[in-house]
Symmetry: C2
Subunit: 162 residues, 2 copies
Amino acid sequence: MIIRDATHQDWPEIYPFYSAVMAEGRTYPFPEGQTLEEARPWWMEQAPGTTVVAVGDGAIVGSAKMGPNRPGRGSHVATASFLVDPGHQGRGIGRALGRHVLDWCRAEGFHGIQFNAVVESNHRAVHLWRSLGFDVIGTVPEAFEHPDEGLVGLHIMYQRLK
Amino acid sequence: MIIRDATHQDWPEIYPFYSAVMAEGRTYPFPEGQTLEEARPWWMEQAPGTTVVAVGDGAIVGSAKMGPNRPGRGSHVATASFLVDPGHQGRGIGRALGRHVLDWCRAEGFHGIQFNAVVESNHRAVHLWRSLGFDVIGTVPEAFEHPDEGLVGLHIMYQRLK
């Protein structure tokens, strides 16, 4: 598996699993039911951010987007989001994308990286980010409407990078 | 002083103090140096959000914007931002706008309201929001570059509404 910068042409291959993950409704407070064109700006980042894809066996199996979490006087802290094709989970793709994002953030000179909304019942993600050095620095109670579990919290996770 | 919905025509009267507050660089991780038209979408909210103005002695002396903090499965938690004309501070305008926003959020049925980035050295704001019922639920360390104090934290503040 390799991780490379996403191109405009990759989006139609990302979109099916983007849509599948959003339709599941378990991991992201994103809009559901977006068309290919509606969803594009929600995932395909503009500079100074960027979007990458994980490619294995010739197919895109995951993607991450990253960039400054805020403009101006907050732009030294990064943020990122991650998608793994549900048909390819459990193979370390999320972890590889996570490591790639941390390397990118360090190379770009960010002081830290913040995740704004990690669903607290998404134990796989919370465990992964903790194992890569993130801490939960706060939890917004009942901020996510989970299809099975009802209202669950959204963690803010953070890692200092320098 | 009255608080009313902002109209498109109000923006040129809000923009001067919006620009002044951003140029001071002490309270918001927003872009600086925006033109009238660049800044407009950063403050003038679209439905389901809204922007209001505080009017006293025939002049706009403050403004607030409010709406869902996240789309989709996070849209039951609100957020808001506030501006008071620096020439009119200390007169209770921020407090009146805060109460107005809380009333609006309750009327719209939001479950809670979250501030994503309150500069921790902005003691006046932190005190005001605490006095209106908000708690600090986490602080992103060194996430704001203050012009005098260097890197200071950004508080996430929250209040349950039902």
